[in-house]
């Protein structure tokens, strides 16, 4: 029994792989492309992972480690072994449920949403592959293996963003996503290398033990932390590599919900949470500021976007920034908590957006919508629930997690003082902005008068396969699921299970940031809690109110305001010109240098080769001439001389024996006289 239970996570991991293989190879033979199979398997998987979470709650952490391969024993480098294995701890157990839940909901949702698509079967097989990779990512106990799955989810993301590759935009978006992620991954890889070279093992437990033993410390440790964080910057779309995520919305909407909102993009946060205990004070400072800057930038961009999915994409980036920031300030469990709550309500938001797009026959521009509440009541109410959650309104899960994070930022500023005060200021600001733009979206989309009558008339509520996941996700956005106390989740099951670990570097200090021992940090946190709650309520309320003022009651004309602050408005609308900046610099530079290299190779390097060939041929021409005229001349001269003598002597060669005898006689006579004389 014990043994079977320990192997259960492997079953959970392999079920989606099985689904992928069956659909990829036999999908054509199955009725409906095998969607029922994939969906059923995923729900089964959800049940199993729920069971694992439950068992984990009783038995606690365990690990299964196998040798993957080794490089033999070397007297200089020692035994170099690589392991593969998985572990079940709080993070993993929770993530398993989150991934499987959202994946199974998305499977169900896609059955209708993707109906009639030419690549229906392919779509479900990709979903299976993605789920497999994502589960692998959260299950593994080894950072190298995590990198493996990390890249595999990237591959799935590439395939699914570019799912409709017949069109230009998805192609470009897919390529961009993969390459931008690669940039981050190189950093991640370098970070892994640092760990391998200093600690010699890539298993998390060994890494932590190594850091604790001081094998890796000081600047190298900070560098390793920041390099590993680079991976998270790519995958979780943090500034400055956030540009791929909004474009990724070119993929099918359920995919956006699954990959680009709830699970894959959260992998970066998961990574940072995993390695939290070894992050040095300086690394954490960098992480905090990257997080808060990302949250702020994307929140400002989200204000002006008109594509329903783009708004949600920027809000995702902003929330991811929140989570990163939360871990950066030391609120590990709150950051992770926010990851989970966000996964549910953001998946809900994306799926409702999908439902709207489906109902509106592929219209994504919110300026075409309006008044959809009457036509799509279920969609509207689930959307409302999720919007309340993301805005941090009490009684929602979002309130619990967001409030805790805000409190931690206050505590952080309180401990460190100085410039770190910017962190809570921006964080609260972002909370207000979030509430504003989410309600702007809600109001423009669902309330008011329909802008496009014709589309409106044809609009309809989505079928039950789509609304059921929406309802489930909306329910999961209630506070009750995580904690019985609507104001604080501290004693809910989640935070009891996911406890904040003590940093291995507690008590150390960087340039701007102390890592306090856990107890002291919680002390500060406790003080900040009340302030944070009141402040966040006021700010969210203000945000929502402003949204209503602008778009519902129309007391203030948004267009006029936009006109008045045109430069700022354009700056936000054009996403701070990041794309243009990268196109003009990095992309243009690479393309330029590639063209240059191609030219150099063809003209100069090869030119030298061909030039030397031409040179040699030139030389050979002259040496050929020399040979013909001079060297051969001598030879011919010899021949000629011989020939000339021959011409003379051949006269004597008549072939007539009589002549020869005559010469003979003549010769004898001559010889006779010669001998007589001498």
């Amino acid at each position: 029994m014990e043994f079977a239970l320990q192997k259960l996570p492997l079953v959970v991991l392999l079920i989606p792989m099985f689904s992928f293989l069956v659909l990829a190879f036999f999908g054509n033979k199955l009725p409906r492309g095998g969607d029922w199979l994939a969906t059923t398997l995923l729900f089964l998987n959800l049940a199993l992972s729920g069971f694992i979470l439950f068992v984990f709650g009783m038995t606690g952490r365990y690990e299964l480690n196998l040798e993957w391969f080794n490089l033999g024993n070397n007297s200089f480098f020692g035994m170099q072994k690589f392991f593969a294995g998985f572990q079940i701890d709080a993070l993993t157990a929770v993530m398993l449920v989150v991934v499987n839940a959202i994946s199974s909901f998305v499977h169900l949702f896609s059955v209708k949403y993707m109906e009639g698509d030419a690549k229906y079967k392919k779509y479900f097989s990709y979903l299976g592959l993605f789920t497999f990779s994502m589960l692998g990512l959260v299950l593994t106990n080894n950072i190298l293996l995590m990198y493996v799955f990390w890249e595999l989810v990237g591959l799935c993301s590439y395939l699914l963003i570019g799912f409709w590759y017949e069109n230009k935009a998805p192609q470009e978006a897919a390529k961009k996503a993969f390459i931008v992620n690669r940039v981050g991954d190189v950093g991640f890889f370098l970070g892994i290398s640092v760990l391998f070279l200093t600690i010699g093992s890539l298993t998390f437990s060994d890494i932590f033990a190594g850091v604790e033993a001081g094998k890796l410390a000081g600047g190298t440790l900070t560098a390793a932390g920041i390099l590993l964080f680079c991976g998270a910057v790519g995958k979780s779309a943090q500034f400055p590599l956030h540009v791929w995520l909004p474009d990724a919305m070119e993929g099918p909407t359920p995919v956006s919900a699954l990959i680009h909102a709830a699970t894959m993009v959260a992998a970066g946060v998961y990574l940072v949470a995993r390695i939290f205990v070894i992050l040095s004070a300086d690394a954490l400072t960098v992480i905090t500021f990257i997080g808060v800057i990302t949250a702020f930038i994307s929140a400002t961009i989200a204000l002006t976007q008109n594509d329903i999915k783009k708004v949600l994409a920027y809000s995702t980036i902003s929330q991811l920034g929140y989570m990163i920031m939360a871990i950066g300030v030391g609120a590990y469990s709150f950051g992770f908590f926010h990851l989970v709550t966000h996964a549910f309500f953001k998946a809900c938001l994306f799926l409702t957006a999908g439902s709207v797009i489906y109902g509106m026959h592929h219209v994504q521009d919110i300026r075409e919508m309006g008044g959809l509440r009457k036509k799509m009541p279920i969609t509207f109410y689930t959307f409302l629930m999720a919007t309340l959650a993301i805005s941090g309104v009490p009684l929602t899960s979002g309130f619990l997690s967001k409030d805790a994070i805000l409190a931690s930022t206050l505590a952080f500023a309180d401990i460190n003082g100085g410039i770190t005060i910017l962190v809570p200021i921006l964080a609260f600001g972002v909370a207000g902005l979030t509430a504003f733009y989410m309600f702007r979206l809600l109001i423009i989309t669902f309330l008011g008068e329909p802008k496009n009558k014709e589309k409106y008339e044809h609009c309809h509520e989505s079928p039950v396969q789509m609304t059921l996941p929406l309802i489930l996700l909306a329910v999961l956005s209630f506070f009750g699921f995580f904690s019985l106390n609507p104001l604080s989740a501290d004693h809910g099951w989640f935070l009891t299970m996911v406890k904040m670990p003590e940093s291995l570097l507690a008590g150390t200090q960087g340039a701007m940031y102390h890592i306090l021992p856990l107890e002291e940090f919680e002390e500060h946190l406790h003080h900040a809690h009340g302030t944070a709650m009141i402040l966040s309520l006021v700010i969210s309320g203000l945000g929502i109110l402003t949204a209503y003022l602008f778009y519902y009651w129309e007391k203030i004309n948004a267009d006029k305001l936009a006109e008045a602050i045109k430069p700022l408005y354009n700056f936000s609308l054009n996403k701070w010109y990041f794309d243009e900046l990268y196109d003009k610099t990095a992309v243009a530079f690479t393309m330029g240098i590639s063209k240059l290299s191609g030219w150099i190779d063809a003209k100069i390097v090869d030119g030298i080769v061909n030039g030397s060939a031409t040179f040699t041929r030139g030389i050979s021409k002259y040496s050929g001439l020399f040979d013909n005229i001079f060297v051969d001349g001598i030879v011919n001269l010899t021949g000629g001389l011989v020939g000339a003598f021959g011409l003379i002597f051949r006269k004597f060669q008549t072939g007539k024996i009589q002549t020869y005898i005559a010469f003979l006689v003549f010769g004898i006579i001559v010889l006779y006289f010669v001998f007589r004389v001498f």
């Binding site: 072939g655 007539k656 009589q658 005898i661 005559a662 006689v665």
Partner: protein, 102 residues
């Protein structure tokens, strides 16, 4: 005047000279053959003369007989060649038989 060795030798020399001349200057194959016969006979005269005057016994005569027999054989073969020459070239002029020259 006593007929001595010298006379025979002079006769032999004259015959030899005539034969040589005939062999060199004649273009008719038959005449060339006759020249050869003269040379052989000049040699015979010398052999017999040396046998007689220098006490060689009958050796000289024996060798002369050999030479005569050889001359017969030679004449038979040579005439056969000449006959063939005539058959092929319709002439016995040896200068005409030059097809191997070029």
């Amino acid at each position: 005047m006593e007929i001595g060795l010298t006379h025979y030798l002079v006769l032999g020399a004259v015959l030899f000279g005539l034969g040589l001349f005939a062999m060199i200057s004649r273009r008719n194959a038959i005449l060339v053959l006759m020249g050869i016969e003269l040379i052989l006979n000049a040699a015979n005269i010398n052999l017999v003369a040396f046998a007689r005057y220098n006490g060689l016994g009958v050796d000289g005569q024996v060798i002369s007989i050999f030479v005569i027999i050889l001359a017969v054989a030679e004449a038979a073969i040579a005439l056969g060649i000449v006959l063939n020459l005539y058959n092929n070239f319709a002439t016995v002029d040896i200068d005409e038989a030059n097809t191997m020259k070029d």
